[in-house]
Amino acid sequence: MSTEAYSEYQLVVGLEIHIQLSTESKLFTAESTAYGQPPNTNVSVITLAHPGIMPKLNKKAVEYAIRMGLACGCDISRYCIFDRKNYFYPDSPKGFQTTQDRTPICIGGVVPVNLKDGEEVNVKLNRIHLEEDAGKSIHDEHSDESFIDLNRAGVPLIELVTEPTIHSADEAMAFMTEIRRMVRYLEICDGNMEQGSLRCDANISVRKKSDTELGKKVEVKNMNSIRNVGRAIKHEFKRQINLVEEGKPIITETRLYDANTGTTFSMRTKEELNDYRYFPEPDLSPFEVTEDWLNEIRLSMPATPRQLRSRFVEEYGLSVYDTEVLTSEKEVAAFFEEVCEKTTHYKQVANWVMGPIKSILNEQEGDEITIPIAPEQLSELVEAVENKKINSSLAGKQVFPYLVNNTNKTVSDAISELKIDISGQDDISDIILEVLGAFPEKVKAYQNGKKNLMGMFMGEVMKKTEGAANPQKANELLRDALDKKEKEE
């Protein structure tokens, strides 16, 4: 099909993001939420839905949900109840999920995100509500049985629902990236998509740009990385347009994303005809969010990435690009701020963090982020270069790697152990004479007015000193030596 046909259509996406709250215990019961435990060991009579049990709400889960709501500029509901969402599926032994249908804890809200081209778009939220997670079903262990592990059943989630106002895969990815960053900054979720602590379902439809009504939507699940969210959306966009162009109907259904092929396929479960028959959960008492409690949460809340970005621009005079890079991971931003308490050469600190430190972090595997150098070490290193104690090339090539390998050592330790000559004057004088001796023609040209040969001499000197010379000092000495030669002749 021609690309013109695609351009006649508009993509319409709404996202539902499930964020697993990093509380220690479950939403309504006291068993541990630790990931990766042996199957069915984090379960209680409440999770198993034995008769006569009474659930009780985890206060911290409510606070975490409110943090996210405040960070997204939502209205926080002051009076909440829970509802039962009724359905039969083996990973939920009660026969219903306890969720918030009528009184979501957070209503509305907006998350501004920056697209690659620098454009800022606002993603509108519909709501954020509290609910419990289901257990896990394992379908591939046995030919005609599914295995059920209920460790995850009852783990607290917030579900964040956007309005269907996302119109490109890039926008969806930028939004997911920002949400992941936010939950990690707010310390309410580890943001791990591989392990499913952060999950994204996308409601995708297409319509002719001239249409005002929305097309039939398809729900896509099983995208376990931000990149896959983008790929799934791009694939669905094309698939649905192709169907429309061929005059075939789009079926409202749930499809799963296959990361191996980059395509989606219909999830045919044996459970059809859903009618959730929501009604208020009578076993849980309602809860109220008072002004005092809300203020307490507001005051104790860690900064959001957005707050940090504007602080970095204002306090440290950094560019928008620099602040984007520095705040991409919470740990990196915190490290940057710590170093900036010890030195005022903010831009230099930023350069070290975005250059050599980032490249080490990029090599690290998994989601864990370990900053390879201590904040004191980096501030000392920046100061040493700024005070011309060592030059930047030496700092980068020798001192920095030394400090990374010896996080308990100081810059002075590095200088003495690496036998770095910080005076350097005599050594360089010899080298300068050597260089000038090797290029008599060029020296003459310089003396005849080709002053821009200075750069070439400097280059040779730096090459011979393996970058160890202080460029400013070397420049001075070089100029002196050339002047001296001139007088000699």
């Binding site: 509380t23 220690e24 215990s25 019961t29 006291a30 068993e31 541990s32 939420t33 042996p38 199957p39 069915n40 060991t41 984090n42 379960v43 209680s44 009579v45 198993l48 034995h50 009780k56 709400l57 985890n58 206060k59 911290k60 889960a61 409510v62 109840i81 009724n86 039969f88 599926y89 083996p90 079903s137 394992i138 379908h139 046995h142 030919s143 005609d144 049985e145 599914s146 295995f147 059920i148 592990d149 209920l150 999830m267 045919r268 479960t269 044996k270 459970e271 005809l273 009618d275 028959r277 208020p280 959960e281 009578p282 076993d283 849980l284 008492s285 309602p286 809860f287 109220e288």
Partner: protein
Amino acid sequence: MKITKEIVRKTAHLARLEFGSEDEDQIMNDLQKMVDWVDKLSEVDTERVEPLTTMSSEINAFRDDKPKPHLPRKDALKNAPKHNSEYFTVPKVID
């Protein structure tokens, strides 16, 4: 509200109940009686009454976020119709 065969079948499916078609008429009549009986409540004017969501007058019954010891797996699996040493097992739920 008129209870139709359609409603009976849908409700049966949602509740995972199975019965023969010969019982359908009887169930439909019984269900109609129940619904009519409850419908009596509609006669009360509830215009300015807040919906009642719980029988308790308690509010903010919170629990601190502290894990506590729970069930050993052996006990957790014990009452299930089917299980192996680690998992509850059920008829396959996905094609």
